[in-house]
């Protein structure tokens, strides 16, 4: 936790100073007011014979009156001083905590952005957002209270006890007696209520997450007419939520009398003692006044101890979680001495690559192939075979567990991520658009690009026409996740976004699945100009998309089972011909389906393909 304070240590010290100054002025005002009361007690009663007017009284002050005026003047000065001190305290406090938040949030944001896909597979985004917002809030609240409020409590208690001691040593000692008991009960209460408070918070979080899921999946809810079900689910949660809230209130209501009673007991016993002392002439009215004021200030401050304890517990948990993020090793990071990607044609080579999201369950096994710079390679294969995984390794979103991936002869792990990722552009299988303008989304990878270039890219992706038809053209702000566009429109924006970056290697992961064949062929024709001298990976299920690739790689169950051109693969029995037949000859292929060898059998014969694959690799 205290590592988070270090960068703002100077601001913390300044804030502490003002807290101290504020406590001191507050205590002084109580003291001065008490003295004033004393003085009033000692003011001589003027003879009753003729009524005294206020002006007369002020103009003919006796010693007591003079002293009273003098004290009140000082009280006025103290109040003005307080005005300044409180202002400084408030602003210093905010400055400190805002700066701290700034640094921590920056660190978390930066880390989360750079942590890599592996990290995000493990941490859900809801969780991360929550940490960056509410955990941070907890830490901030704690630093603010732990450092400043603790100081304030300590000083206020100390100053006021000193103030009481100036009246009477024994009373001061007596007033110390209830403090430990009071503090003990407050701590006990905060400890007891903490699990309850936490359970309320959990119910509240759950409440929000039910609503969030319900709304994000509103299509599904409506489509399956499960509204009633959702309402029941929500009500069940509301019931627990309410129970917990009421339980917390009940605990509070049970404990409140105890705390109040202890405070009151100490007040009463002090007044008792003070009253008796007055009877004995050992105390004056002003002293009683000071006693009341000082004790009130002390108890009010000690009441905060409970909060501090609670905040301390929360902050410990929160700061540990934040620390975990800030200190997390990015799943993929620059090696020491990593170099920039040297110029080259864009050859890509896989050498005996194995990889699994969970290392015990490989998603890719011993994959080897190579492609020449500037060529187009198509990857086909069944669902879940590992196609996306394969291209993820080219952009080094994950690190391979065995073997290596080379671009222009350099292992991607030896390259700086910045140089690699600016040279490799990916169109993801699932389109994610930001709720920014259309132009802002296209220029995402090159924020400083000109409008002309944005439009050119949009034309290449066959997106210009529909963008022009949007209400505000390129300046239209998209809905959340691009919700106001059709599936194909979203994909074309994503393609434009990738083209704009002018990459050496372009990866299209099922990037035209939602685009009709005609538009797709237009895109392809135009892209041929763009892709001149670049290497392109195309993952697709449509034969028409992959047909003209220089190399078609078939991936099945994490292995490369076939590789070659369309014509070559059509001549061989296997997955590729099977799907091609199904697509190109429709009905006839369907009838033959039963005879086709199963995936498993083909995978076992993968060894036979190896030769063919290695043949291709030599081209690379």
């Amino acid at each position: 936790m205290f590592q988070f304070i270090r960068p703002v240590i100077l601001l913390v010290i300044i804030a502490c100073w003002w807290v101290a100054a504020a406590s001191a002025t507050d205590t002084l005002t109580i003291g001065v007011a008490g003295k004033a009361v004393d003085t009033i007690q000692n003011i001589q009663q003027v003879s009753q014979s003729h009524p005294l007017s206020l002006a007369q009284w002020l103009h003919t002050p006796d010693a007591g009156t003079r002293r009273l005026l003098w004290l009140l003047k000082w009280l006025g000065i103290l109040i003005l001083l307080m005005l300044v001190v409180r202002y400084c305290k408030e602003t210093a406090n905010t400055r400190m905590s805002m700066n701290m938040v700034y640094y921590i949030r920056e660190a978390v944001y930066d880390k989360v952005q750079r942590a890599g896909f592996g990290f995000h597979d493990v941490h859900s985004s809801g969780q991360l957002i929550n940490r960056a917002l509410s955990d941070l809030q907890n830490v901030r609240a704690f630093v603010q209270t732990a450092v400043l409020v603790t100081l304030e409590i300590a000083l206020t208690v100390a100053f006021n006890i000193v103030l009481i001691a100036t009246l009477n040593k024994w009373v001061a000692v007596l007033s110390l007696v209830p403090l430990p008991i009071w503090t003990y009960y407050i701590l006990r209460f905060s400890r007891k209520i903490q699990p309850v408070a936490k359970s309320v918070m959990e119910a509240e979080d759950r409440n929000v997450s039910i609503i969030t899921e319900n709304i994000a999946g509103v299509h599904v809810v409506k489509a399956f007419a499960t509204e009633g079900l959702e309402i029941t689910k929500y009500q069940a949660n509301c019931d627990t939520f309410k129970d917990r809230v009421l339980k917390r209130i009940r605990m509070f209501a049970d404990f409140q009398p105890i705390i109040r009673s202890i405070a009151m007991a100490s007040h009463l016993s002090l007044f008792l003692v003070a009253g008796i002392l007055m009877i004995h002439g050992k105390m004056k009215a002003g002293d009683l006044f000071i006693l009341g004021g000082a004790m009130g200030a002390i108890l009010a401050r000690l009441q905060l101890v409970g909060n501090i304890n609670e905040q301390y517990q929360n902050a410990m948990v929160s700061s540990r979680r934040l620390y975990e993020i800030v200190m997390a090793q990015p799943s993929v990071q620059d090696r020491p001495g990593a170099c920039k990607l040297p110029d080259g044609p864009g050859t890509v080579t896989f050498e005996n690559v194995s990889f699994g999201y969970d290392p015990t369950k490989p998603a890719l096994r011993d994959v080897s192939f190579g492609i020449k710079g500037g060529s187009v390679v198509a990857i086909v294969g069944p669902t879940g075979a590992g196609k996306t995984t394969l291209v993820n390794l080219v952009a080094r979103f994950y690190d391979v567990q065995q073997g290596r991936v080379l671009i222009d002869g350099v292992d991607v792990r030896d390259l700086t991520l910045a140089s690699l990722r600016t040279q490799v552009a990916v169109v993801f299988q699932e389109t994610y658009l930001f709720s920014d303008t259309v132009a802002g989304n296209i220029a995402y990878g090159r924020p400083n690009i000109s409008d002309g270039d944005i439009e050119a890219a949009a034309r290449f992706a066959q997106a210009h026409e529909f963008i022009e038809n949007l209400p505000r053209g390129y300046q239209t702000i998209l809905g959340e996740r691009g919700a106001s566009l059709s599936g194909g429109q979203r994909q074309r924006l994503a393609i434009a976004r990738a083209i704009v970056t002018n990459p050496r290697v372009l990866i299209l992961d099922d990037a035209t699945a939602a685009v009709d064949p005609e538009t797709e062929s237009l895109i392809r024709r135009r892209m041929r100009f763009v892709m001149e001298g670049r290497t392109t990976f195309i993952i697709a299920h449509r034969i028409s998309t992959v047909k003209q690739a220089d190399l078609v790689v078939v991936v099945e169950q994490g292995r490369v089972t076939q590789a070659g051109t369309h014509a070559e693969l059509m001549a061989l029995d296997g997955h590729y011909r099977e799907i091609a037949d199904a697509q190109l000859h429709g009905d006839d292929a369907a009838e033959n389906q039963a005879d086709a060898p199963s995936h498993m059998q083909r995978v076992q014969s993968a060894g036979e393909v190896e030769a063919a694959v290695l043949g291709v690799e030599k081209m690379g």
Binding site: L52, Y87, K111, R250, G488, E578
Partner: protein
């Protein structure tokens, strides 16, 4: 080791200031947090407390009792001080110190009794009041949620997720100020002020008059302060919303951020927003720093006046020193509610803004809604007919123009055509997500506007282009459509449809956690799960919007063949760009620019040589 090593962005010049400005502007349509007090709204809020009327009344009565008891404390102090001062001043020569001390003990004893009474009352007040208030709160929550389930899709198109969530959280919570403590606060504040005023007048009317004018001053100051602070807080909150929206968006879109290497510019934009946030917060703290002590000064003015004036009164012999202390105390009792009321007024304005939005939401009429005389849709054969349907998400920009077609029961109808043509929109209309602006959609012979939504949806199976999985396991997701289904039913369905092998190849089969929005499986796997989910609901009409676009052709074929067998006699709508998927359809509709430009079977359309034939050539033969 420095934890905050990333601080490098902090001192960069704001090169991305334009982007910051844009990010700041995008969310700047933030909502009003304050509204003036409106009586109709207040009345409605009060009405919603109705069922708990007696609870509130009881609590308020008990609470007033407690306040009165609490205010007696000063009387006891005054008593002790006066007695002590008089005794020390030698006014009671006949009384021994022991007897005098005993007198003090008695006073303290009485005080103790009064205090016990107050504690007991307080406990009941807290419990009764909050129980009633929270009950009202939860009633609101449930009403809102139920209303959200009724609202139609166009509402969700218009309204941002964050906004809807804030209806259920922030806005409802702002009502708490009224529901739980509001009435009590007003009643008790006024009560306290009256009692305190009576005491002070009783002590000395002139003294009271000489300071009472500070009350209105303080009230005005408190209002001004709270209004200023509230504006500042609103600005600060908006700034913070921008920080958190930016954060959330970049975390959810993290894959794109990584792929396009946008970390550095993003950090600059983020820090720019943070700087704005810091500045806003500093502004708020400056307002607090000026006004809070200023309020204190006004109170102190009164105290100083009391001290000075009581000096005079003592000199005149009109009051004794105990009264000075009591006056000093009652002055605080008098002034605290003034500040509270100033703050409360402000909270009331927040509650007004919240109430306005909450009631606004509750009053919203779903655009697609069951007609009052809507009937249950009986078990249907599955005929679907569009009659002159025109529809636009925004009525001024129709995306479907005058659509007419009929799907016979048991037919497979395919929708093909260029992207953005309106295929998904047609599907949404059949599912009654939206209401057409003209024409009608009929299922069998029923206008779907005239039947209940539930009975309609129960007979439809829908796989949408944007697939959505809830967090949980594969099993839970498939069962979502049909909560009554047993595990075996789910497995049977998966087997029947051909997705069983694919699901079993996942790390834990049916018990695999799908991750956030299904992130830990491949897209094709997700689509198959959605497919199985729709199939399990045993629909009469099956609608597949690019349901297998990411599924390989071999698997797709298996699925399709099973479907043909399983769904015999049911109507199926298929949207696909992979034309092999739809070649066997009974009817192919080519949707172009919101119109149906061609219709017929695969062979008919090929012979006709129109758009479809062109598309098909592109699909099969590529560019030759």
């Amino acid at each position: 080791m420095t934890v905050l090593g990333a601080g490098k962005g902090a001192k960069k010049p704001p090169i991305i200031s334009a982007a910051v400005a844009r990010a700041a502007q995008i969310e700047s349509d933030d909502e009003d947090k304050y509204r003036p007090i409106q009586w109709p709204l207040m009345k409605r809020l009060m009405m919603s407390l109705g069922t708990f009327k007696w609870w509130y009344l009881t609590a308020i009565t008990l609470g007033l009792g407690q306040v009165i008891l609490d205010m007696q404390g000063l009387q006891f102090i005054k008593w002790i001080v006066n007695y002590g001062a008089d005794y020390a001043g030698g006014k009671f020569p006949g009384i021994s110190t022991a007897a005098a001390s005993w007198h003090i003990v008695n006073i303290i004893g009485m005080w103790t009794l009064v205090f016990i009474g107050s504690v007991v009352l307080q406990r009941f007040v807290i419990i009764i009041m909050t129980r009633a208030g929270e009950s009202v709160q939860f009633e609101f929550r449930q009403k809102i949620f139920a209303q959200l389930q009724r609202l139609s899709m166009s509402f969700y198109d218009r309204t941002k997720l964050g906004r809807i969530i804030s209806r259920c959280t922030t806005d409802v919570n702002s009502l708490r100020e009224v529901n739980v403590w509001g009435i009590w606060q007003v009643v008790s504040s006024v009560m306290i002020m009256i009692i305190a005023a009576i005491y002070m007048v009783h002590e000395d009317a002139r003294l009271f008059l000489s300071i009472v004018w500070l009350g209105p001053v303080l009230y005005v100051l408190s209002r001004v302060y709270h209004r200023k602070a509230a504006r500042g807080y609103q600005v600060a909150r908006e700034g913070f919303t921008r920080v958190s929206t930016n954060l959330a968006e970049n975390i959810t879109g993290m894959r794109v951020v990584t792929a396009f290497n946008r970390q550095d510019p993003n950090l600059d934009v983020f820090n720019g927003l943070q700087q704005i946030n810091t500045v806003n917060n500093m502004a708020v703290s400056r307002v607090n720093g000026v006004y809070q002590p200023l309020l204190e000064v006004v109170r102190f003015w009164g105290r100083v006046t009391i001290l000075l004036y009581s000096g005079y009164l003592v000199a005149c012999g009109r009051i004794r020193v105990g009264s000075v202390i009591a006056m000093y105390g009652y002055w605080d009792w008098f002034m605290n509610p003034v500040i509270t009321l100033g703050a409360f007024y402000n909270q009331l304005m927040m509650a007004m803004a919240g109430a306005e939005r909450v009631f606004g939401l509750l009053d919203l009429k779903p655009e697609v809604q069951d007609e009052p005389q809507a009937r249950e849709l009986p078990r249907i054969e599955g005929r679907v007919r569009f009659e002159n349907v025109t529809f636009g998400y925004n009525p001024d920009r129709p995306v479907l123009h005058d659509i007419n077609f009929e799907a016979k029961s048991g037919q497979m109808v395919a929708l093909v055509g260029p992207t953005g043509g309106g295929k998904s929109s047609i599907i949404s209309l059949i599912a009654r997500f939206y209401q057409p602006q003209q024409g009608r959609v009929l299922v069998d012979a029923h206008d779907i506007q005239q039947v209940t939504g539930e009975s309609l949806h129960k007979q439809m199976g829908l796989v949408l282009q944007v697939n959505y999985l809830f967090s949980g396991t594969v099993m839970e997701n498939i069962r979502y459509a049909c909560p009554g289904a047993s595990e075996q039913d789910v497995i049977d369905a998966a087997k029947a449809i051909g997705s069983y092998d694919c699901i079993m190849s996942l790390a834990n089969g049916f018990e695999t956690d799908v991750g956030e929005r299904g992130a830990s499986m491949s897209l094709g796997q997700r689509q198959l799960i959605c497919f199985t989910r729709a199939f399990l609901s045993d629909p009469r009409i099956f609608m597949l919007d690019e349901a297998t676009s990411a599924v390989d052709t071999a698997t797709e074929l298996i699925v399709q063949q099973s479907l043909e067998k399983l769904l015999a006699g049911r109507t199926t709508f298929v949207v696909a760009h992979r034309l092999s998927t739809i070649m066997r359809a009974d009817q192919i509709l080519v949707v172009e620019g919101g119109r149906i430009s061609e219709r017929g079977t695969h062979r008919e359309l090929l012979t006709a040589g129109g758009k479809y034939a062109h598309l098909y050539r592109q699909f099969v033969l590529q560019d030759q």
